[in-house]
């Protein structure tokens, strides 16, 4: 039975965790017949785990995997009509090219004549005619890659899974292989599920792009969709260059950024809602200052071959413009943006401040300090006094948070979920055991790492909770 829309593989509510760390957080994904689908995301986002679940190498803790409408949870890899091209190719070093490709068919006891014929066909498809007798260890990286693809495709799978297959190749070879992969996919009419962290690769090859971060799917769409209409700042930042700025949606089609009111085409965000605005560098037109609402001064011009990359300071915010015409450093310019090119996105972190709850463990009236318990840590706060056993709600602005350079923070092992440059400074979203945090920083932090988080309590507001519930 084929389900509607020719969906071959369907993941429903997939949840995976290792040692208490959530890898996939209830994701849903449909893979359609004959499509080239790319799962794109930074390392550690769960993309390879998703692939392993489809391949049958990993069982999800929760959720169902269906193949052509049938549930295949618990089915071992060798019983699935799905084949994988591994990151390191994983060819069998003791076999030559022919025997590597014939391996799967020999296991399935395909007649010898047919094996010969199909290997030959496959070698023609991957452009390795006459390589049958070669030892795989003597092939170049690109050739090994093609043998690995042939070995998987010759089994005639409904879906081919590819785990960053071009990662080990140099740039030029990678570009060639991207084109060849697309050709192979069209020739064989097989659905490809391609995992990569390279956004350019994803945009050039795919029919559908799935953007993942921190165990969740942020957006699914065509390459044009995810580029032109990213759903949030993470997607906008991850795919292509982008100017991402904090803004306020005043009303339908009216947005305020950097104190200026602009017209846009988005509706339905409500009134006076804080939102993120993304404007692609090539969508900004350089005009005379009096012709545009947003004005700025050129601080840097770099020639990139196809275009100039112009950096403009506008009301304390850094903007990037791609233009075919150059400018001079120090020029005063206007930045003209047509309403269609102003993309409005919901904020990833709704609150503008961080609020968390603390129990006062002990207090010292003379020294005017308290010791509080937050999540699993205890620390001292100076300049405050509350009775022991008071429940406190503490509110901190994003600027009061920092990452402890000396390694000693108030909360340890806080996960960096995203780092997005917002013109003035980086906006960093962090995740501790119990909640998410918003931080401002001028330092670039590494996404998907664990860091000690430090608070500056001089900027904090304290509120005593009386009989209120924490939530």
């Amino acid at each position: 039975m084929t389900t509607k829309n020719d969906v071959i593989v369907s993941l429903k509510d997939i949840f995976v965790q290792f040692d208490g760390e959530v890898i996939l957080n209830h994701i849903d994904l449909d893979i359609k017949d004959k499509e080239f689908l790319t799962i794109l995301g930074p390392s550690g986002c769960g993309k390879t785990t998703t692939l392993r679940i489809i391949g049958g190498f990993l069982e999800p803790e929760q959720g169902t995997v269906t193949f052509e409408g049938k549930k295949i949870n618990g089915l071992p890899p060798y019983k699935r009509n799905v084949n994988t091209v591994f990151q390191k190719y994983s060819l069998f070093p003791h076999l030559n090219v022919f025997d590597n490709i014939a391996f799967g068919m020999k296991i399935k006891k395909v007649p010898k004549d047919e094996i010969k014929r199909r290997v030959k066909e496959m070698l023609a498809i991957v452009d390795l005619k006459g390589y049958e007798k070669r030892s795989v260890s003597k092939l170049s990286g690109g050739q090994q890659q093609r043998v690995a693809i042939a070995r998987a495709l010759v089994c005639d799978p409904k879906v081919l899974l590819l785990d960053e297959p071009l990662g080990a190749l140099d740039l030029k070879l990678r570009k060639n292989m991207q084109w060849e992969l697309k050709q192979i996919q069209q020739k064989t009419n097989t659905a490809f599920v391609y995992v990569t962290h390279d956004q350019e690769e994803a945009l050039t090859m795919s029919d559908t792009v799935v953007v993942m971060n921190n165990g969740v799917i942020e957006q699914i769409g065509t390459p044009t969709d995810v580029y032109n209409e990213p759903v949030n700042a993470f997607v906008a930042d991850f795919i292509g260059d982008a100017n991402i700025i904090n803004g306020t949606m005043l009303d339908d089609c009216r947005v305020r950024i950097l104190g200026e009111e602009l017209e846009c085409v988005d509706k339905g965000f409500g009134q006076n809602m804080p939102i993120d605005v993304v404007i692609r560098p090539e969508d900004i037109e350089v005009v005379k200052p009096e012709e545009a609402v947003l004005k700025g001064e050129v601080t840097e011009v770099v020639f990139k071959g196809v275009h100039y990359e112009i950096t403009v300071m506008c009301k304390g915010c850094e903007w990037i413009i791609h233009s075919t015409e150059g400018a001079k450093v120090g020029d005063k310019i206007g930045m003209k943006i047509i309403p269609f090119n102003i993309q409005i996105m919901n904020k990833m972190f709704l609150a503008e401040k961080n609020t968390f709850y603390a129990d006062v463990v002990s207090a010292d009236k003379e020294a005017n300090t308290i010791t509080v318990h937050v999540e699993d840590s205890e620390f001292e706060i100076e300049g405050q006094y509350f009775e022991p056993e008071t429940k406190l709600a503490i509110t901190l602005p994003p600027s009061a948070l920092s990452i402890a350079g000396d390694g000693v923070g108030h909360l340890d092992d806080v996960y960096i979920e995203s780092v997005i440059f917002k013109g003035e400074h980086n906006e960093i979203i962090l995740e501790s055991d119990k909640q998410k945090w918003l931080m401002q920083s001028d330092v670039d932090e590494q996404v998907a790492t664990y860091v000690p988080l430090k608070f500056d309590f001089t900027k904090a507001e304290f509120r005593v909770m009386e009989g209120e519930n924490e939530t």
């Binding site: 391949g55 994988t84 069998f92 296991i107 070995r151």
Partner: protein, 264 residues
């Protein structure tokens, strides 16, 4: 400086091989003492006419072959099992398997003898071929584990997954792919077992019972009476065989190293 290092190396080789060279020379001596009385091959012909020595030689070879085969199979399985354990458990089990290597032969020998006599009384059997074989398997297996474990650890696990992906069940994947990756480790484990088994005197001595003879036991009992130059001939032959084995292994190692280098 170069000269000194050359002389130094020469001296070391001289001291290492002097005793063996002496033995080989005297295996051709036409006399029973350490005085040279002319060249002869008669000790070699005598050796092959001595049915006792020949039967001991067969026993030794059969024990060594069987023990190293079985130890290779057991040790490989054990190594795979150990590798699948995680953290402290793995370290514990791995060390437990190494204890056998570290403990003195005499302790192992006496312990095995005690166990075999106890079991022999309970199940009515006497020590002999089987007990020696079991004892040899016991002390050979840890060497195989020691050789195979690093191969498993350095093996690209996705090669096994690739085999599963292409339709192999776990056993087929092991037989058709994994075993080829482990082969060099299994081979050196086998060779080590073989030489240690051939070589063993102490453990065999305690587990052989009344009548079972191996070469090392034979030679030892012969020295009780009068040293026959036949022993020199036999030892010389054994040395040459072992030397040949070593050369074969080294050549094979170099070949596989070359292949490895090409693969990278």
């Amino acid at each position: 400086m170069k000269k000194i290092s050359k002389i130094y190396t020469a001296l070391i080789i001289f001291f290492m091989y002097m005793p063996i060279v002496t033995l080989i020379i005297f295996s051709f001596n036409n006399g029973k003492t350490t005085v040279w009385k002319g060249f002869t091959l008669k000790w070699y012909t005598d050796l092959f006419r001595d049915s006792q020595i020949i039967s001991s030689l067969w026993n030794t070879l059969i024990i060594a072959l069987l023990a190293s085969f079985i130890a290779t199979a057991l040790g490989t399985m054990a190594a795979i099992g150990i590798n699948n354990f995680k953290g402290k458990k793995r370290i514990l089990i791995q060390n437990a398997s190494n204890v056998e290597i570290l403990s003195p032969d005499i302790v192992t020998g006496v312990a095995l003898m005690l166990m075999f006599t106890m079991l022999g009384v309970a199940f009515h059997f006497k020590m002999g071929f089987l007990t020696v074989l079991l004892a040899h398997i016991t002390f050979c297996t840890p060497y195989v584990v020691l050789n195979v474990l690093p191969r498993i650890r350095h093996m690209d696990y996705s090669v096994y997954e690739a085999a599963l992906d292409l339709g192999c069940n776990q056993w087929q994947a092991f037989r058709k792919v994994v075993i080829h990756e482990l082969m060099p480790g299994m081979f050196s484990g086998f060779l080590m077992s073989f030489t240690f088994s051939m070589d063993d005197f102490v453990i065999t001595y305690f587990t052989r019972g009344a009548s079972f003879q191996t070469l090392s036991i034979q030679i030892y009992t012969m020295t009780h009476q009068r040293i026959s130059p036949k022993i020199n001939a036999l030892s010389a032959l054994m040395f040459v065989v072992v030397l040949a084995l070593m050369i074969v292994v080294n050549l094979k190692d170099r070949k596989s190293e070359k292949q490895q280098a090409q693969r990278v």
